[in-house]
């Protein structure tokens, strides 16, 4: 067990080093000096030089890298070049929005994907076809901006049930916050649910074909019983692996969804920085996201290891 943990954690650390290195190099080397990026098109070479000195961009790359990493680990994400506001402050209000959306979408995805996946598997085992298969294939391909727009038009504008944009902090009026969350979560959740439904179905069907399911039935379990008692537990394993993948995609999806529904989350911060060429802000925020994804993958792998008793002799 410990060997596995050590190996996996080493891989985690190496991944962080590799990705941070990649981002670091991209920022420093692509498209000229970061200073010129920050100052924009109309800067003079003297301005650029001065800024570079100020930012310590003439130090050896390794030194810059280590400096950056040490600062980052302490949770200091730097300062916006233009507004001078500490990112930590901005994050305080932006993170809850993005996290709420991610959680909401995940919940919706689970609520749709798991039951439909199970039902579809059951029908498959009994030899009947399933509409879920076809529908989920469409659900996966639905672009977020399309489903978001359609849902907004139907439920937001025509029926007026939910707001199509904006945000209210949880601390102010939780009920309204929830209403703001509905449309975006459902939009994002549809894609997740479709992927999950297919995956759950395949996993369960695979399990149901195993000999030990037949043994269960040979000793009196009905098909439904064996699915619930035997099937789910064994099918949970492959499903756990896909969750890590889903979370990865979730990051991209939340960026689009937040933009569509004008939510003041992390993506607005990043996009603002991108447009304003605030390169170091982009760098740090992107690093934050990458670490988040890598951590989730780490947790997923460890959970899988714990769940699969066969790996733990």
């Amino acid at each position: 067990m410990t060997i596995f943990l050590v190996r996996r954690f080493t891989f985690f650390v190496l991944s962080i080093l590799a990705t941070s290195g990649l981002i670091f190099l991209l920022v420093r080397l692509l498209g000229g000096s970061p200073a010129s990026v920050l100052l924009g098109e109309f800067s003079t070479p003297e301005d650029v030089l001065a800024l570079e000195k100020q930012l310590g961009l003439h130090q050896p790359l390794i030194v810059q890298y280590v400096e950056w990493m040490t600062v980052l680990i302490r949770g200091d994400f730097g300062v916006s070049f233009y507004s001078g506001i500490e990112l930590r402050m901005l994050l305080k209000s932006a993170l809850p929005v993005s996290i709420s959306l991610s959680v909401g979408a995940l919940l919706v995805g689970l609520a749709i994907g798991v039951p439909f996946g199970i039902a579809s598997a059951l029908r498959s085992f009994q030899g009947k076809g399933s509409l879920v298969d076809f529908i989920s294939q469409i659900g996966i391909a639905l672009p977020v901006f399309w489903s978001g727009a359609v849902l907004s038009i139907i439920f937001g504008v025509s029926l007026g049930w939910f707001p199509t944009g904006g945000w209210v902090p949880w601390s102010d009026a939780p009920a309204t916050t929830l209403r703001h969350l509905v449309l975006p979560s459902v939009t994002l959740g549809i894609g997740i649910g479709s992927v999950l439904a297919r995956f759950v179905r395949t996993a369960i069907v695979e399990v149901m074909r195993q000999d030990f399911v037949r043994t269960g039935r040979a000793f009196g379990m009905s098909v439904q019983q064996s699915l619930l008692v035997v099937g789910l537990r064994n099918a949970a394993l492959p499903v756990v692996t896909v969750l890590g993948n889903i979370v990865s995609h979730l990051v991209g999806g939340t960026v689009l969804t937040e933009t569509l529904f004008s939510m003041p989350g992390l993506s607005r911060m990043i996009l603002g920085a991108v447009v304003g060429r605030d390169i170091f802000v982009v760098q740090n925020l992107v690093m934050l996201l990458i670490v988040y994804v890598l951590v989730v993958n780490l947790i997923v792998d460890i959970s899988y290891y714990i769940l699969d008793k066969r790996l733990r002799i």
Partner: protein, 317 residues
């Protein structure tokens, strides 16, 4: 004596292929029947058909009456009542047959609780007794283990134990020793037979090994190409077989000591191979390999019953 299981004209097919063709069989209380045949002869499908555990797409026709229940016609729900109560099955591959995520004890708890009224509370006591009778060492530890943590022989005994714990009238053992070391095969079978007779149940031993049948079964039924070609009391059939296939099978089952003693140079072998399900010849399935075949054999021979023995052959010996 009334048979506990009466199978009449059982056919098992998936629409395209047929694995069992018109088999008639009787199983009596306390009988130990050896169902013999090469792989693909249909003997496993026979057992699965009776329990309605056929693979997806396969179905059975005919009748198989257990007591007063026709196992071919009842619903899946009714089968759930029969399985693990009146019939139990011991599968061939003990590792794949057990859920890798569940401890052994979990299986026994379910089965024992189901089998007796006080089973729910006394299941551990009962399971331990069964397992130690079967020769499982450290039965208490075994109950807490996962299937992959036990040896093949132990797992097989556990499967036997599970079948015995159901207190069924009929136990079907599908090649119970094929995936077990030869050295302990006899051991496991001794255990199986002893446990079955203690329970007072009948046993159908499905196997390809004639030697096992000759040692442990009082009745033998030979299958070939989905047909039941010959059956009867074991000693009688083996000593004086009537069907050419049975004869050839017996000849090819030569023991090592005899090879050495008689300095056998060429092992007797039945020429050819049993036809696959897709290329089954019309009429008698053994026709193309039989040295007694005649033009009559192009039609399936009818079953003839005499003195407790059945036979399907136009040209018996």
């Amino acid at each position: 004596m009334r048979p506990i299981l009466q199978v009449r004209d059982l056919w098992v097919s998936n629409g395209r292929l047929t694995a069992v063709r018109g088999v008639d069989l009787d199983v009596f209380p306390g009988q130990r029947l050896g169902l013999v045949g090469e792989s693909g002869a249909g003997k496993s499908m026979f057992g699965l058909a009776i329990m309605n555990l056929l693979p997806f797409g396969w179905s059975a026709k005919g009748s198989a009456i257990l007591g007063n229940t026709d196992l071919v016609t009842i619903s899946e729900k009714e089968h759930c009542e029969v399985r693990g109560r009146r019939i139990a099955m011991i599968f061939q591959d003990s590792l794949s047959a057990l859920d890798p995520m569940k401890r052994i004890g979990w299986h026994f708890r379910r089965i024992v609780s189901r089998a007796s009224s006080d089973g729910a509370t006394r299941w551990q006591e009962i399971s331990l007794e069964i397992l130690s009778n079967l020769g499982v060492e450290n039965a208490a530890t075994a109950l807490r283990k996962y299937p992959h943590q036990l040896s093949g022989g132990q797992r097989q005994r556990i499967l036997i134990g599970m079948a015995v714990a159901t207190k069924s009238e009929l136990i079907i053992a599908d090649e119970p020793t094929t995936s077990v070391d030869t050295a302990i095969q006899r051991n496991v079978l001794d255990t199986l037979v002893a446990a079955t007779s203690k329970l007072g149940a009948s046993l159908i031993l499905v196997t390809h090994d004639l030697a096992l049948v000759s040692n442990y079964c009082d009745t033998i039924a030979v299958m070939y190409g989905g047909h039941l070609v010959e059956s009867g009391p074991t000693t009688e059939v083996l000593v004086k077989s009537r069907h050419p296939y049975t004869g050839a099978l017996i000849n090819s089952n030569i023991s090592l000591p005899r090879i050495i003693e008689q300095q056998v140079k060429k092992l007797p072998v039945i020429p050819g191979m049993m036809p696959s399900l897709e290329s089954m010849p019309i009429g008698c399935a053994f026709r193309l390999r039989c040295d007694r075949a005649s033009s009559a054999c192009e039609e399936i021979p009818p079953e003839s019953i005499s003195e407790g023995r059945t036979l399907r052959c136009w040209n018996p010996k």
